[in-house]
Each structure stands twice: as C-alpha cells, then as structure tokens.
C-alpha cells in the first residue's frame, strides 16, 4: 500500500531563516505531487505541483520554491522566511488525474 511521509511535524523558525520541508511517498511510481498551505481551520491553497522529476508548476508567486530531485521526493524551500509563511503545510500525492489526492500528516510551521 502507498504511504506518504512528511517531516518535521512541527517547526519554529525566526524571520529571515531558511526553510526545507521534505515529503516522500512509498508504494507508487511516478505520482503527481502537491504542496498545499492551510490557514487555521480553513481550506487548502495549492502552492506547487509536480508531474515528474524536475517538473514544478507554481500556483502562487511568493518566496517559496519547490524541487523534486527524485521520483518520490518533494521538497519545499525558502531562502528567507516571512511572518506570513506561518501555517500548516501539507504534501499530497495523486494519480494521473487531479482528483483523489492522498495527504501526509502535515508540518506546522511557526515563523517568529
């Protein structure tokens, strides 16, 4: 069966510091991968998605970036965090169609 991992679970970072969040998927090949951000108790905002290694599409211009160095690895990065980057970050994988996405446990990021 497929599983998706995210780490760390919780992160507190000062403004201006770099960020690296990692997501890995097991049990499937060539998945579509997604990074979302969620405000407290609200819906999901798509940040990036990838249909293959090195292929990244950005949905929202901001100081975040994403990379996919391996088929089942998706990384979210920032060179300098802003206070507004605080939130709950979710990684998801899906098949060739966008629907029926499966989510990791999320990372709670607090920028202080």
């Amino acid at each position: 069966s497929q599983t998706i991992h995210q780490w760390p679970a919780t992160l507190v970072q000062p403004v201006g510091s770099p960020l690296s969040l990692e997501c890995t998927v097991e049990g499937t090949s060539n998945p579509n991968l997604y990074w979302y951000r969620q405000a407290a108790g609200r819906g999901l905002q798509l940040l990036f998605y990838s249909v293959g290694i090195g292929q990244i599409s950005s949905e929202v211009p901001q100081n975040l970036s994403a990379s996919r160095p391996q088929d089942r690895q998706f990384i979210l990065s920032s060179k300098k965090l802003l206070l507004s980057d605080s939130g709950f970050y979710l990684c998801a994988w899906g098949g060739t169609s966008a629907y029926e996405q499966y989510f990791g446990p999320g990372t709670r990021l607090t920028v202080t």
């Binding site: 819906g43 798509l46 169609s97 996405q101 990791g104 999320g106």
Partner: protein, 110 residues
Amino acid sequence: TQLLEQSPQFLSIQEGENLTVYCNSSSVFSSLQWYRQEPGEGPVLLVTVVTGGEVKKLKRLTFQFGDARKDSSLHITAAQPGDTGLYLCAAEDSNYQLIWGAGTKLIIKP
C-alpha cells in the same frame, strides 16, 4: 474563476442529531470529492462522486452529487463525537487541478 462555497462554515450539534452540509458552485464539474480533516492531521478522502444525481453512502454518511453536477451535499445521520472535524469538498477544475472549498467545521457534543 471556479469557486466552491461550503455552508455552513461552522456547525455545533448534540450527539444523535442529523445534519446536512453543502458544497455549491456555479460551475459544472466532472467529479467532486469530500474529505474529513481532524486537527493537526492531513485531510482524508471520504468519497468521490462523478455522475449527476449520484448518491453514495458510507455508514451514517450520505453524499449526493447534484443533477447538474454543480453542487453536492453531505448528510450525517445520528451524529457521533467521532464525526467531529473539518469537512472539505474539492472538485477538478478545467486545468485538471483540484479547487477546494473553505470547509465546514463540525463539532458533535456528547
């Protein structure tokens, strides 16, 4: 711009009561999904509906896709505290990406 509007935004009821939450749009979708999310966790897919008028049941949860495939409802019978969570609907847009509603936060009091 395709939007999904969920209502109500917040609902708090007693255990044993019935409830219905809604997901509406002016756009037609090829499919619509419902997810449940518990605090501090990722959303979990509950169901996908693809045919206009389709009804799917998952134990005490009944999901319906509107005949015109623009809206959907989720009905819970005899709600239990374990049903507490954020219920999100999502649908595939014309760019083959999921768009998301803002969610209904449901609290079932014992």
